[in-house]
Amino acid sequence: MRLVAIGVTAGAFSALFGVGGGIIIVPLLVVAAGFGERPATGTSLAAIGLIALAGTVLYALRGHVEPGHAALVGLPAALGAVGGAALQQRIGTRVLLLGFAALLAVIGVRLLVA
Protein backbone atom coordinates (compact mmCIF):
# COMPACT_ATOMS: atom_id res chain seq x y z
CA MET A 1 0.00 0.00 0.00
CA ARG A 2 2.87 2.32 0.80
CA LEU A 3 4.42 1.49 -2.56
CA VAL A 4 1.17 2.41 -4.31
CA ALA A 5 1.13 5.76 -2.50
CA ILE A 6 4.76 6.35 -3.45
CA GLY A 7 3.93 5.49 -7.07
CA VAL A 8 0.94 7.82 -7.33
CA THR A 9 2.87 10.68 -5.71
CA ALA A 10 5.93 10.12 -7.89
CA GLY A 11 3.82 9.89 -11.04
CA ALA A 12 2.08 13.20 -10.38
CA PHE A 13 5.39 14.88 -9.52
CA SER A 14 7.09 13.49 -12.61
CA ALA A 15 4.36 14.56 -15.02
CA LEU A 16 3.94 18.00 -13.46
CA PHE A 17 7.65 18.83 -13.71
CA GLY A 18 8.84 16.70 -16.64
CA VAL A 19 11.48 15.00 -14.50
CA GLY A 20 12.01 11.41 -13.42
CA GLY A 21 11.24 12.11 -9.79
CA GLY A 22 14.23 10.41 -8.19
CA ILE A 23 14.49 13.36 -5.82
CA ILE A 24 11.29 12.20 -4.12
CA ILE A 25 11.25 8.44 -4.86
CA VAL A 26 14.66 7.74 -3.30
CA PRO A 27 13.92 9.39 0.08
CA LEU A 28 10.40 7.89 0.12
CA LEU A 29 11.84 4.38 -0.40
CA VAL A 30 14.34 5.02 2.38
CA VAL A 31 11.92 6.56 4.88
CA ALA A 32 8.56 4.91 4.08
CA ALA A 33 9.71 1.52 2.78
CA GLY A 34 12.90 0.97 4.79
CA PHE A 35 15.25 0.64 1.80
CA GLY A 36 18.99 1.17 2.05
CA GLU A 37 20.46 3.91 -0.10
CA ARG A 38 21.85 1.72 -2.88
CA PRO A 39 18.77 -0.44 -3.49
CA ALA A 40 16.66 2.72 -3.19
CA THR A 41 18.70 4.40 -5.93
CA GLY A 42 18.70 1.33 -8.21
CA THR A 43 15.01 0.55 -7.71
CA SER A 44 14.10 4.22 -8.16
CA LEU A 45 15.83 4.24 -11.57
CA ALA A 46 13.84 1.21 -12.76
CA ALA A 47 10.59 2.79 -11.51
CA ILE A 48 11.49 6.09 -13.19
CA GLY A 49 11.84 4.28 -16.51
CA LEU A 50 8.23 3.07 -16.22
CA ILE A 51 6.96 6.43 -14.95
CA ALA A 52 8.70 8.42 -17.70
CA LEU A 53 7.39 5.95 -20.29
CA ALA A 54 3.84 6.45 -19.00
CA GLY A 55 4.31 10.22 -18.98
CA THR A 56 5.70 10.20 -22.51
CA VAL A 57 2.77 8.15 -23.88
CA LEU A 58 0.05 10.14 -22.09
CA TYR A 59 1.65 13.50 -23.03
CA ALA A 60 2.17 12.32 -26.63
CA LEU A 61 -1.52 11.39 -26.94
CA ARG A 62 -2.24 15.07 -26.25
CA GLY A 63 0.33 16.19 -28.83
CA HIS A 64 2.82 17.80 -26.44
CA VAL A 65 5.90 15.64 -27.16
CA GLU A 66 8.51 16.71 -29.75
CA PRO A 67 10.36 13.44 -30.59
CA GLY A 68 13.05 15.09 -32.72
CA HIS A 69 14.01 17.47 -29.90
CA ALA A 70 13.98 14.59 -27.41
CA ALA A 71 16.39 12.57 -29.58
CA LEU A 72 18.74 15.54 -30.10
CA VAL A 73 19.10 16.06 -26.35
CA GLY A 74 18.45 12.58 -24.97
CA LEU A 75 20.77 10.43 -27.11
CA PRO A 76 24.00 12.40 -26.50
CA ALA A 77 22.95 12.63 -22.85
CA ALA A 78 22.86 8.84 -22.50
CA LEU A 79 26.46 8.70 -23.79
CA GLY A 80 27.46 11.56 -21.50
CA ALA A 81 25.89 9.87 -18.47
CA VAL A 82 27.97 6.73 -19.00
CA GLY A 83 31.10 8.89 -19.21
CA GLY A 84 30.07 10.95 -16.19
CA ALA A 85 29.45 7.87 -14.06
CA ALA A 86 32.88 6.48 -14.99
CA LEU A 87 34.50 9.85 -14.24
CA GLN A 88 32.84 9.93 -10.81
CA GLN A 89 34.91 6.92 -9.75
CA ARG A 90 38.16 8.74 -10.54
CA ILE A 91 37.88 12.35 -9.47
CA GLY A 92 36.77 14.35 -6.44
CA THR A 93 33.45 15.93 -7.27
CA ARG A 94 32.89 18.23 -4.30
CA VAL A 95 34.03 21.52 -5.87
CA LEU A 96 32.42 20.59 -9.19
CA LEU A 97 29.20 19.80 -7.35
CA LEU A 98 29.18 23.22 -5.66
CA GLY A 99 29.67 24.91 -9.03
CA PHE A 100 26.94 22.80 -10.57
CA ALA A 101 24.54 23.61 -7.72
CA ALA A 102 25.27 27.32 -8.28
CA LEU A 103 24.50 26.92 -11.99
CA LEU A 104 21.17 25.24 -11.20
CA ALA A 105 20.33 28.02 -8.74
CA VAL A 106 21.05 30.70 -11.36
CA ILE A 107 18.82 29.02 -13.96
CA GLY A 108 16.13 28.46 -11.31
CA VAL A 109 16.11 32.14 -10.37
CA ARG A 110 16.00 33.12 -14.02
CA LEU A 111 12.95 30.92 -14.60
CA LEU A 112 11.31 32.28 -11.46
CA VAL A 113 11.66 35.95 -12.34
CA ALA A 114 11.52 35.87 -16.16
Binding site: V30, G80, L104
Partner: protein, 131 residues
Protein backbone atom coordinates in the same frame (compact mmCIF):
# COMPACT_ATOMS: atom_id res chain seq x y z
CA UNK B 1 22.13 23.77 -37.89
CA UNK B 2 23.27 25.94 -34.97
CA UNK B 3 20.28 24.72 -32.99
CA UNK B 4 21.21 21.10 -33.66
CA UNK B 5 24.79 21.66 -32.46
CA UNK B 6 23.56 23.47 -29.32
CA UNK B 7 21.11 20.66 -28.58
CA UNK B 8 23.72 17.91 -29.02
CA UNK B 9 26.32 19.75 -26.90
CA UNK B 10 23.81 20.62 -24.17
CA UNK B 11 22.50 17.05 -24.14
CA UNK B 12 26.01 15.64 -23.80
CA UNK B 13 26.86 18.10 -21.01
CA UNK B 14 23.61 17.37 -19.19
CA UNK B 15 24.32 13.63 -19.42
CA UNK B 16 27.85 14.02 -18.05
CA UNK B 17 26.50 16.10 -15.13
CA UNK B 18 23.76 13.54 -14.48
CA UNK B 19 26.27 10.68 -14.38
CA UNK B 20 28.84 12.63 -12.41
CA UNK B 21 26.49 13.94 -9.71
CA UNK B 22 24.01 11.08 -9.63
CA UNK B 23 20.99 13.19 -10.53
CA UNK B 24 18.31 12.64 -13.14
CA UNK B 25 18.55 14.30 -16.51
CA UNK B 26 15.11 15.90 -16.47
CA UNK B 27 16.02 18.83 -14.25
CA UNK B 28 18.59 19.80 -16.93
CA UNK B 29 16.72 18.73 -20.07
CA UNK B 30 13.71 20.95 -19.41
CA UNK B 31 15.70 24.24 -19.37
CA UNK B 32 17.76 23.06 -22.38
CA UNK B 33 14.52 22.40 -24.28
CA UNK B 34 12.81 25.64 -23.22
CA UNK B 35 15.57 28.26 -22.84
CA UNK B 36 17.87 26.63 -25.42
CA UNK B 37 15.53 25.25 -28.07
CA UNK B 38 12.49 27.43 -27.62
CA UNK B 39 9.86 24.88 -26.62
CA UNK B 40 7.06 26.03 -24.33
CA UNK B 41 7.30 24.95 -20.70
CA UNK B 42 4.58 22.31 -21.21
CA UNK B 43 6.19 20.91 -24.40
CA UNK B 44 9.61 21.04 -22.76
CA UNK B 45 8.41 18.99 -19.79
CA UNK B 46 6.56 16.47 -21.97
CA UNK B 47 9.57 16.10 -24.30
CA UNK B 48 11.98 15.82 -21.37
CA UNK B 49 10.19 12.64 -20.25
CA UNK B 50 10.97 11.01 -23.60
CA UNK B 51 14.53 12.39 -23.60
CA UNK B 52 15.38 10.85 -20.21
CA UNK B 53 14.41 7.32 -21.26
CA UNK B 54 17.76 6.32 -22.88
CA UNK B 55 19.74 7.67 -19.90
CA UNK B 56 17.43 5.98 -17.39
CA UNK B 57 17.60 2.69 -19.31
CA UNK B 58 21.41 2.77 -19.30
CA UNK B 59 21.49 3.66 -15.59
CA UNK B 60 18.98 0.93 -14.72
CA UNK B 61 21.03 -1.66 -16.61
CA UNK B 62 24.14 -0.66 -14.65
CA UNK B 63 22.29 -0.75 -11.30
CA UNK B 64 20.75 -4.11 -12.22
CA UNK B 65 24.23 -5.56 -12.75
CA UNK B 66 25.27 -4.24 -9.33
CA UNK B 67 22.24 -6.07 -7.91
CA UNK B 68 20.62 -2.85 -6.68
CA UNK B 69 17.25 -3.11 -8.47
CA UNK B 70 14.24 -4.69 -6.75
CA UNK B 71 12.08 -5.25 -9.78
CA UNK B 72 8.83 -6.13 -8.04
CA UNK B 73 8.92 -2.89 -6.04
CA UNK B 74 9.78 -0.89 -9.16
CA UNK B 75 6.89 -2.51 -11.04
CA UNK B 76 4.33 -1.75 -8.31
CA UNK B 77 5.49 1.88 -8.16
CA UNK B 78 5.51 2.16 -11.95
CA UNK B 79 1.98 0.80 -12.38
CA UNK B 80 0.58 2.85 -9.48
CA UNK B 81 2.25 5.93 -10.99
CA UNK B 82 -0.06 5.78 -14.02
CA UNK B 83 -2.88 7.39 -12.02
CA UNK B 84 -0.53 10.05 -10.68
CA UNK B 85 0.85 10.78 -14.15
CA UNK B 86 -2.64 11.44 -15.48
CA UNK B 87 -3.33 13.84 -12.59
CA UNK B 88 0.04 15.56 -13.04
CA UNK B 89 -0.56 16.13 -16.75
CA UNK B 90 -4.02 17.59 -16.10
CA UNK B 91 -2.57 19.99 -13.55
CA UNK B 92 0.28 20.96 -15.90
CA UNK B 93 -2.18 21.57 -18.75
CA UNK B 94 -4.51 23.61 -16.54
CA UNK B 95 -1.80 25.87 -15.13
CA UNK B 96 -0.84 29.05 -17.00
CA UNK B 97 2.51 28.73 -18.80
CA UNK B 98 4.12 31.34 -16.51
CA UNK B 99 3.04 29.53 -13.36
CA UNK B 100 4.33 26.19 -14.64
CA UNK B 101 7.69 27.78 -15.51
CA UNK B 102 7.98 29.42 -12.07
CA UNK B 103 7.10 26.15 -10.34
CA UNK B 104 9.89 24.48 -12.29
CA UNK B 105 12.28 27.30 -11.35
CA UNK B 106 11.41 26.71 -7.69
CA UNK B 107 12.10 22.99 -8.10
CA UNK B 108 15.54 23.81 -9.54
CA UNK B 109 16.29 25.91 -6.45
CA UNK B 110 15.27 23.00 -4.21
CA UNK B 111 17.57 20.64 -6.13
CA UNK B 112 20.39 23.22 -5.99
CA UNK B 113 19.92 23.56 -2.21
CA UNK B 114 19.96 19.79 -1.81
CA UNK B 115 23.20 19.54 -3.81
CA UNK B 116 24.81 22.35 -1.75
CA UNK B 117 23.78 20.48 1.39
CA UNK B 118 25.27 17.21 0.19
CA UNK B 119 28.48 18.88 -1.05
CA UNK B 120 29.10 20.45 2.34
CA UNK B 121 28.67 17.19 4.23
CA UNK B 122 30.37 13.86 4.15
CA UNK B 123 28.59 10.59 3.51
CA UNK B 124 25.71 9.80 1.24
CA UNK B 125 23.24 12.43 0.23
CA UNK B 126 20.09 10.42 -0.27
CA UNK B 127 20.06 9.02 3.24
CA UNK B 128 20.28 12.52 4.63
CA UNK B 129 17.33 13.74 2.64
CA UNK B 130 14.92 11.73 4.71
CA UNK B 131 16.14 12.89 8.09
Amino acid sequence: MTTVVIALAAGLAAGVAAGLFGIGGGILFVPVLTLGLGLSQLEGEATSLLAILPTVAAGTWRQHRYGNVRWRTALVIGVAALAGVEVGIRIAEALPEDTLRRLFGALMLVVAAQLFWSATRRGNRFGELGR
